[in-house]
């Protein structure tokens, strides 16, 4: 996942599990597709665009990068229906 490189602390904060969690979140609620091997080999732009979509939906700062605020929101309890009908 694209993570913020502006602040090196951000990079340290997200573990592999955190990134997998964020990936699952985008798959569940933002229709993010992985390739048949199940690895996110598609360009990071796709993930970034889904992150941007999510950040825009929730009125967060739209960066396309995983930051603390976006990750916090992903962890909040919520409805399982995707935010994008498509």
């Amino acid at each position: 996942l694209p993570i913020s490189h502006e602040d090196s602390e951000d990079i340290d904060e997200f573990t592999k599990q955190d990134l997998q969690f964020a990936e699952r979140y985008l798959k569940t609620h933002y229709n993010l597709h992985s390739n048949p091997a199940g690895i996110m080999r598609k360009s990071a732009d796709t993930v970034a665009s889904k992150l941007r979509e999510m950040q825009s939906f929730f009125g967060l700062e739209v960066t396309g990068k995983l930051d603390e605020e976006t990750y916090e929101l992903m962890q909040q309890p919520r409805c399982g229906v995707p935010d994008v009908g498509e």
């Binding site: 409805c79 995707p82 935010d83 009908g85």
Partner: protein, 368 residues
């Protein structure tokens, strides 16, 4: 508000529902009541009627399940996904499923079944998730209290676009989410919190970060579930790293997300007269270590060191702060200026020269 693609909706107004099974967290009667009340949220504002059936296939089948529960959209254990529902249609269309790995409750102890069900039935009727953080159809769970629940205006507009309005709405006052650039915007309170500014309005506040142009709108309850849904005034004491919030005769001290033990307290414990009903505005002046409290047309000065109201107060606002009017909705200080909010106007008041320097619109705090 949003709709599902192709604007899916029921082609009839009389719909049936069936509660297929129950959660062990609640009595059956409690589940029945929560579900019935959740449907009423929608039937009150539309011509839709909901009838419960106890056998056979209903339009909306309601069930509790865990993990993979038969629809290939598995739940995920405690927290995370709470429930989901299908848009109107045959077979699974309209059905609502609740994750039984959650703790369901009729209050705020667990996830409130009524609130979650009302949200899910919005999907069952054709509403998609809303971007409005005040809407019932916003995807993130926030406990808002289930007594006297009022369906937010955004949801009413959405559902009425699908089905029209009903004959009689018993609660026609549907709360609107405030818009920051509204020319008539008024505010409830303003405080700093660790470098961010928090601007309170109704059950919301805007978070304004100094490096961000756009403010983020958040429900007070989603940040601090124990606080009341609306505040009268707020201020930060940066030395103590505490934020104080006032509502009616009570006030709370917060350290970040946490309410400090021993709160809420009563405002008379600060030294105010017992008959004082509320604080309108509060501001801490770092240079003097004093906090000013505004109540009606008067203000008080509180010494944070001695933790006592200063002698000689209250004084009239109009006498000591000429030009800002005779009441204060909200106030903050920055760079030697105090910014007083009174209705849709904001007064920039120089602490040094003791006069109003500029009059601005309230919404200019958001660069509108």
């Amino acid at each position: 508000y949003n709709f599902f693609p192709r604007k899916l909706k029921w082609s009839k107004n009389n719909l049936t529902y069936r509660i297929v099974n129950y959660t062990p967290d609640l009595k059956r009667a409690e589940v029945d009541r929560a579900i019935k009340k959740a449907f009423k949220v929608w039937s009150d504002v539309t011509p839709l009627n909901f009838t419960r059936i106890r056998s056979g296939t209903a339009d909306i089948m309601i069930s509790f399940g865990i993990k993979e529960h038969g629809d290939f959209y598995p739940f995920d254990g405690p927290s995370g996904l709470l429930a989901h529902a299908f848009p109107p249609g045959p077979n699974t269309g309209g059905d609502a499923h609740f994750d039984d790995d959650e703790l369901w409750s009729t209050d705020s102890k667990g996830y409130n079944l009524f609130l979650v069900a009302a949200h899910e039935f919005g999907h069952s009727l054709g509403l998609e998730h809303s971007r409005d953080p005040g809407a019932l159809m916003f995807p993130v769970y926030t406990y808002t209290g289930n007594t006297g629940f009022l369906l937010p205006d955004d949801d009413v507009q959405g559902i009425q676009e699908l089905y029209g309005a009903g004959d009689y709405d018993p609660n026609p006052k549907h709360p609107k989410t405030p818009e920051k650039c509204d020319a008539n915007l008024t505010l409830d309170g303003i405080t700093d919190l660790r470098g961010e500014m928090m601007i309170f309005k109704d059950r919301f506040f805007w978070r304004l970060h100094p490096q961000m142009v756009d403010a983020e709108l958040v429900q007070i309850k989603s940040f601090w579930p124990e606080l009341p849904s609306k505040v009268d005034a707020a201020y930060e004491n940066p030395i103590k790293d505490h934020v104080f919030m006032f509502r009616g005769r009570k006030f709370w001290a917060l350290n970040g997300y946490d309410i400090i033990e021993g709160y809420p307290k009563k405002i008379y414990e600060l030294g105010f007269p017992k008959n004082l009903k509320a604080i309108d505005g509060a501001v801490h002046i770092s240079d003097t270590g004093k906090t000013l409290f505004f109540t009606g047309n008067k203000y008080w000065s509180y010494d944070e060191d001695t933790q006592a109201l200063e002698k000689g107060y209250p004084r009239l606002i109009e006498e000591d702060f000429p030009g800002i009017g005779d009441k204060v909705d909200a106030v903050y200080q920055k760079n030697g200026y105090m910014y007083f909010f009174n209705g849709p106007l904001q007064f920039e008041y120089s602490i040094w020269s003791k006069r109003v320097m500029r009059v601005l619109n309230t919404n200019s705090i958001f660069w509108c």
